[in-house]
Each structure stands twice: as structure tokens, then as C-alpha cells.
Amino acid sequence: MKPARDKRPVIVETQNLAMHFGGVRAVDQVDFTLFDKELRCLIGPNGAGKSTFFKCLTGQLVPSAGKVIIRDGETTGFEPHEIASLGVGIKTQVPNVFDGLTVDENIWLSARRWHAAKRARAVVAETIERLQLGDIRREMVGRLAHGQRQWVELGMVVAAEPWLVLLDEPAAGMTHDETARTADLIKEINTQAALIVVEHDMQFIRMISKQVTVFHEGRVLMEDTMDAISKDKRAREVYLGNRA
């Protein structure tokens, strides 16, 4: 690890984190650190434990053992709303949006959580401008295409102006064009906040990644840059195969 990076404060840390489902060790003894303003991708084959690890960070799952520390406080066993209330923006794998409400209302509910009424309306307008959702702002989110729903969810994350963003497969089901825009948005968010991005799409990871953590069978296999990982023999074996 480069010493320059170590000077930045650690904002997410897990110690010996484990999540067991019956006899299955979905996440096992994971020690993980994320520095301030870092952009980190989590990759790994299906069932490697990325999403389970993600859910332990967001409070959707209570880990079987170990600790999660966000900023300076331990958050193991926190409810999702408690994690979010720390100023953490979260996007889940399956789009979680308010289907029966308009795009406007979806983003307003996020902005209003942090701002008074007047400022919230301004934030909604800014967010809609920034994510180019103007044409569909009065549409019911349930009627939108999958990619647009993903963007509405990203809009909700952005509108909360978080300092830490957790994204689970943000580019899933998006067209090539949308994926490129998402990559740009993630880089833009990264100027203000640290990110953890769980992703499958290698193309997408190459667009955004600096540091990548590879999961395999519930453990961290290695942690390095994307280039180094694609050259690494073990990583190629478990995940990249012939695709890289």
C-alpha cells in the first residue's frame, strides 16, 4: 500500500466481519478499510459475498460476528435508517424506489430529510437538472424503464448530499450509453464523497476504478488496482477467467 494513502482518515472499517446463514459462511473474517474520498470497487464471482458484505454495511443484515465502524463510531447492528442518518447514501441492487409517486416526489423525500422546505425544493431542482430527469419529473416512477428507475434512485442518493455512498450494482440493466453516464456521475460524486461500488460489469469497473477489492468465497482475496488484478493469476482463476 502506498504510504500517501495512509495519511487520509479511515472512514469505513470492518474487523473480522462474518455473516453466516446456517452452515454457509457468506462473509468470513473480512477486514476492510476505506479511506476518506476513496472510490473502491468490490468485485467477485456470484456468491462471493459482496452483496452480503454490502448489506452488513447498510444495516440490512446484522453480522454474525465482527465489527463495522463508520467514521469513529461502531455501527454493528444499526438499523438502515440509523446508518442513512449518519449521512450515508445507499443504493440497493434491486432498484428500491417509490413506484406510486412521481420522480419529483421521490427526490423531494430524500432532500427534505436533510433540508428545510425551501432549500429542499432547490435541491430537488438542482438534482433533476444534474441527472437530466427534467422530461420525466412528473411521471410515476413505476411506469419508467429499468435504467431510468436506477437513475431516479441515484438521484435520491445524490439529493441527500452524502459524504459516503454505497452502491450495489449501479449499472445493472443499463444501456451502454447510460452506463457511461453513470460512470461520469460516480466520478463526480467522488469529488465530494467516498464510495463503495459493488459491480459485475468489468467494462464499467475499468471506467471508474482506482482501487479494487476482490471477494472470493466470503473472504477478501486481494486488494489492488484493476490492472494489477487482471494480471494476477489467482484473481483470473476465480473470477476473470478468459473474459479479461
Binding site: 447498510t58 440490512q60 438499523e79 438502515p80 435508517h81 442513512a84 442518518s85 445507499i90 440497493t92 428500491n96 424506489v97 417509490f98 413506484d99 406510486g100 409517486l101 412521481t102 416526489e105 423531494w108 423525500l109 430524500s110 427534505r112 430529510r113 436533510w114 422546505a117 434512485e153 435520491m156 441527500a160
Partner: protein, 348 residues
């Protein structure tokens, strides 16, 4: 379910229509009809409270009549003990809300899922039914008020605030009931436009997303559940005033199910729909009561099945959708014509 932030305008329009009706009806209708209408209004307040908690909060409370009946009993017991109705009304609202808050605390903070919540609330209602039916003896009393078992107890009429000697006449009770309905309706409409109300609708749409935005869904659910119980209690106070007595039958399965039917027929996600459906079905059952060819419950059952299968959204949302569909193409074509005219103008 539709709905969300629709603004206050439709609410105020319906409130205005209600106010006109309130002052006009006694000039047109006979006293007997007015007395009957007071009971219907009380039930409409009950329907409104379920429309709030189920239609907007997404909480299927199968035992809304429990809070309604509890309010009616608390009012009656209070009014007999205090010798006046003013404090009794407050006591009724407080008892019902407090009971809902306690029940809701265990249910929501225990993360009981939707279906079980319906079962629990219905069970609580039926427990009240059995419990109060068994309080016939003179030893069952609260203060000086006998609970009265399955015969129920006579409810003292409303009096002017803090003037226990001047009781209200049935016509005046009608005014009070109608005013209460309109105020509760406007209050609910206002509430659904506040930050709190909009978060509640968000939780109905997607509880996990609301949590991931940093809202504690349990608190919001508990809030709307408690508020709706308070409104149901107001309905209960009006009901025992309209009927003149309160019996444990208010807690029975028939009434619990009837409340659900009103909201299904009227439409979830609206406030005016369930109110209108209550009046409609109340008068339908009254009319059916006058004949013996058709069984009352059979007709209600057929109506319920008809709505669930063919008008699943309920009356009010179906009408709104229909109007919106008719308006939209016309608006669009008007806009197109305008653009065309502008283009022609620029050519010339």
C-alpha cells in the same frame, strides 16, 4: 394504490360542498332523516380514519372499530361520571389514541408484518367484544357508570361546552357531527400534504427505501396509527350520540369487516372516496332493511366481490383516472394547435 402529494385544493372544494350541505340539509330534510344522517356521518368519520391509516399509511388495520368503540365507551363513561360531555370528548380521543399508541408500539417496533397486523388488530377488537359482553353485573362499573354488558349503556347527549344544563337537540347534533366530519377531513387532507404525511406515503410505497433515506419507518407508522385512532374515537363519540346508546356489538366481526368494505369501495389512497362510499352503502343497507326478499349481507358481499374483481382501485381513484385520461389528450392537442399557430405566424 395511487395518491401522494395532490395539494389542498380538492380537499377544500369537498369541504366547501360539505359545508353547504351542512347548512342546507336541515331546511330540506325531515328530522327523522337528519337523525339517521348523524349516524351515517359518525360512520363516515370511522371510514375516514381507516382511509388515512390504510390508504395513506399502508397499514391494514382490521380493527379500526376497536378505536371507534373504545372512543364511544370512553365518552359515555366520562360523560356519566363528569355529568357533562365536554371533557368526555377529550377523554374519548385520548383513551383511544393512547391505546393505539401502546398496541402500535409493540406491533411496529416488533416489526410485525402486514398480514399479522391485520390479524392482531381484528383479534383485539373481538377481545373487546367478548370482554364487554361479560360485564352485565352491577359490580362492573367505572366510577358511577355501569358498563352494562351486552345490553350496552345509554349515552348522555352532548351539551354546550362547559354548560351541562343545555343539551343539544338532534338537529344541533347533526351540525356538530357534520362540522366534525369536515374538520377531520380537512385535517387529514392537510396532514397528507405535510412532510410527515408524505413520508408516510413513501413508507407505504417502499418501506426499505424510506429507511435507506434515513426515516425511521416505525415512528411514522406509530404516528399515523395513533392519529387515526383518535379520529376513529371522534366518530365513536358522534355515533353513540346519534344512536343514543352504545353496545358491545360495535366491536363485532360484521362491523370490523364493514369498515374495510367502505374503504375498498371508496378507494384506497383517497379520503373522499371512503366517506362517499359510507354514505352510499349506509343508505343502501337502510333501504334493503325495509324489504325481506334479499338478504342484506348477501347484497353487501356481492358488492364487495364486484369491486374487488372489477373496480379494484375503488370508486374515487377510478373516476379520477377516467377524468385524467379524458383531459390529457385534449390538453395535448390544444398545445399542438398552439405550436402550429405559432409556427404559421413565424412563417408569415
Amino acid at each position: 394504490m395511487t395518491g401522494g402529494n395532490t395539494g389542498m385544493r380538492p380537499v377544500l372544494i369537498f369541504a366547501l360542498i360539505g359545508t353547504v350541505f351542512m347548512f342546507g340539509a336541515p331546511y330540506v330534510l325531515q328530522l327523522f332523516t337528519i337523525i339517521n344522517l348523524t349516524t351515517a356521518i359518525a360512520l363516515a368519520v370511522l371510514a375516514l380514519s381507516l382511509a388515512l391509516v390504510w390508504g395513506f399509511g399502508g397499514i391494514l388495520c382490521f380493527g379500526q372499530v376497536a378505536f371507534f368503540g373504545l372512543g364511544a365507551y370512553a365518552y359515555t363513561m366520562g360523560a356519566i361520571n363528569f355529568g357533562g360531555s365536554t371533557w368526555a370528548i377529550l377523554v374519548a380521543i385520548l383513551v383511544s389514541s393512547a391505546f393505539a399508541a401502546i398496541l402500535g408500539y409493540f406491533v411496529f417496533f416488533g416489526r410485525v408484518s402486514d398480514v399479522y397486523l391485520g390479524v392482531i388488530t381484528l383479534t383485539v377488537t373481538l377481545i373487546f367484544f367478548s370482554l364487554i359482553r361479560r360485564t352485565s353485573g352491577p359490580e362492573f362499573k367505572i366510577g358511577i357508570a355501569q358498563i352494562g354488558g351486552f345490553n350496552g349503556v345509554t349515552s348522555p347527549p352532548l351539551n354546550l361546552p362547559w354548560d351541562t344544563s343545555s343539551f343539544l337537540f338532534p338537529e344541533q347534533v347533526f351540525y356538530v357531527a357534520m362540522a366534525a366530519l369536515i374538520l377531520c377531513y380537512v385535517f387529514c387532507g392537510w396532514l397528507m400534504n405535510t412532510h410527515f404525511g408524505r413520508v408516510c406515503v413513501g413508507i407505504r410505497e417502499n418501506e426499505l427505501r424510506a429507511e435507506l433515506l434515513g426515516y425511521d419507518s416505525r415512528l411514522y407508522k406509530l404516528g399515523i396509527f395513533t392519529i387515526s385512532a383518535g379520529i376513529a374515537a371522534i366518530g365513536g363519540v358522534l355515533f353513540c350520540n346519534g344512536v343514543g346508546r352504545i353496545t358491545p356489538d360495535v366491536f363485532n366481526l360484521y362491523n370490523a369487516a364493514l369498515t374495510i368494505i367502505w374503504v375498498i369501495v371508496g378507494g384506497r389512497g383517497t379520503l373522499i372516496g371512503p366517506i362517499a362510499a359510507t354514505f352510499g352503502l349506509f343508505y343502501l343497507t337502510s333501504a334493503l332493511g325495509g324489504q325481506s326478499t334479499l338478504n342484506n349481507n348477501l347484497v353487501l358481499g356481492v358488492i364487495l366481490i364486484f369491486f374487488v374483481l372489477l373496480v379494484p382501485k375503488g370508486v374515487a381513484p377510478t373516476i379520477t383516472d377516467w377524468v385524467a385520461r379524458r383531459r390529457r389528450p385534449r390538453k395535448a392537442s390544444r398545445r399542438a394547435r398552439r405550436t402550429m399557430r405559432r409556427d404559421e405566424g413565424s412563417n408569415a
